[in-house]
């Protein structure tokens, strides 16, 4: 398919092939959370939230989604603000684009394990628009930011017709492209606890090139070390692209918690992550390759998370 080729022949073929117009819809830039909820509730499945549009506009153009109403939530202050303090942690509005998050030096320093993922979603142009909340709501099993949200114990603040609720991020996705949002509900913000003492996190994904690709496997890990920095007191390991939803693997964490750090416990955690993976074979990789990568990336992200928990610098991939 010459879809991404810019040569003149491909351009002509593509121009002849397509009408290249989105179906008609109404657009409203909601000013408040309540306004967005009532607009969404009134239109049901015929309405959808617009944040950065890097998934939604593509889906509309390709005819994969048809809507009567697009509700832009970027004008709602709470949905588009970013705030951090070292006691309360990070409040990340669901529509805040990636570049704004990693462009904030204080936040980038406090959460290097989040930045691993936020700096590799698409290219520069995509990061200028794409939001972490949108990445979660698109609910792709391969979403790059979701495993690291899980590793960081993020929670989702959801507004709806009956008020607000807050759920752990690992409970948000229910299947490929599906999530817990009910009629009239939308994601307002993500909340992250302040990093505890001796906390470290790391996200890595495997793609066959250096950038601009979709994860074959992605793993986000976090650890909290004891005062001796030699024992693991808490751990979270989350996998992407190896199941219908991102997975939090408690068994992998259990292989580490309460034990001294060693190659052996890390290998046990990696084996537990491999056992929990339920990958499929597709154009990006086979079951065997994905299972293998799950082990490798679990080990490497744990090593990275431990190094960061000890105050060492680990570069983004």
């Amino acid at each position: 398919m010459p879809v991404n080729c810019l040569c003149i022949l491909c351009r002509i073929v593509i121009t002849l092939q397509r009408g290249e117009h989105l179906q008609a819809f109404d657009y409203v830039a909601a000013q408040t959370v309540d306004e967005a909820v009532s607009l969404l509730a009134a239109k049901g499945a015929q309405a959808r939230v617009l944040a950065g549009g890097t998934d939604l506009i593509v889906q509309l153009r390709e005819g994969r989604r048809r809507l009567e109403l697009v509700v832009d939530v970027k004008k709602i202050p709470e949905v588009n603000t970013l705030s951090y303090d070292s006691n309360n942690g990070l409040q990340l509005g669901a529509a805040v684009p990636c570049y704004k998050i990693y462009g904030d030096a204080t936040i980038a320093r406090a959460y290097p394990g989040l930045m691993d993922a936020f700096t590799l979603v698409g290219g520069t142009q995509i990061q200028g628009r794409a939001s972490v909340g949108g990445n979660l709501c698109n609910s792709s099993p391969a979403a790059d930011t979701t495993p690291t949200l899980i590793a960081h114990r993020a929670t989702c603040v959801i507004a709806g017709p009956t008020g607000r609720r807050e759920i752990p991020v690992e409970q948000f996705c229910t299947g490929p492209g599906r999530n817990v949002l009910g009629n009239g509900e939308f994601l307002v913000a993500l909340r992250f606890p302040a990093p505890p003492q001796n906390f470290g996190a790391h996200y890595l994904r495997f793609i066959p090139r250096n950038e601009m690709d979709i994860a074959v496997v992605g793993v986000g890990s976090s650890v909290v070390l004891g005062a001796d920095r030699a024992t693991v007191t808490a751990a979270r390991i989350a996998l992407g692209a190896v199941a219908p939803t991102p997975l939090l693997v408690d068994e992998a964490a259990e292989a580490l918690i309460g034990k001294p750090i060693s190659d052996q416990t890390i290998a046990q955690a990696a084996a537990a992550a491999q056992a929990a993976a339920r990958p499929i074979s597709d154009m990006r990789g086979t079951i065997e390759q994905r299972r293998h990568l799950t082990g490798v990336l679990t080990r490497r992200t744990l090593q990275g998370a431990i190094a960061r928990a000890r105050g060492e610098r680990v570069n983004h991939a």
């Binding site: 879809v3 810019l6 003149i8 549009g53 506009i57 593509v58 290219g123 200028g128």
Partner: protein
């Protein structure tokens, strides 16, 4: 479908236009405002040919609804050169032969402009990563990277 009235600024000029909600910024720029310097490549956010700056932030204009630009500032390739002088990036793209068919060029130049505004002295590695969202099927990228690095040197001195 009724049209929406949008007031925006494009290349420093106040511009009003009417558009349908479904129209992308790219469509309005090219088809309604006659600003055909911005190119359409893939129309799905992969190729970067339609790159523009929206309030100074590099975006793919195919993935922005034109109605979203109300009250915002858009910068396109048409705003770069003065009547008498090319922008250093344009000049260096010419000198380094950093283009063949030219479809990707406006996108590359807008992306490079955004990079140099943020980081006036990028390394080759930084240039390559920043431009990863722009595809070129003619040059093999080396000439483009060299042109951007050379333009950065010239702009630093100026």
């Amino acid at each position: 479908m009724p049209k929406v009235h949008v007031q925006t600024r494009i290349n420093g000029e106040d511009i009003d236009f009417l558009c349908e909600s479904r129209q992308s910024l790219l469509e309005v720029l090219r088809d309604d405002l006659g600003l055909t310097g911005t190119k359409e490549g893939c129309s799905n956010g992969n190729c970067g040919a339609c790159s523009v700056l929206l309030d100074g932030v590099l975006v793919d204009s195919c993935l922005v609804l034109a109605v979203e630009t109300a009250g915002k500032e858009v910068a396109t390739i048409e705003g770069l050169a003065s009547p008498s002088k090319l922008h250093p990036l344009q000049q260096k793209f010419l000198e380094h032969a950093a283009l063949q068919c030219g479809i990707c060029t406006p996108g590359f130049i807008m992306a490079a402009k955004a990079l140099l505004a943020k980081n006036p002295t990028p390394t080759e590695h930084e240039v390559r990563y920043w431009l990863a969202g722009n595809l070129c099927r003619c040059t093999g990228y080396d000439k483009i990277v060299r042109a951007v690095l050379d333009a950065a040197t010239v702009m630093e001195k100026a």
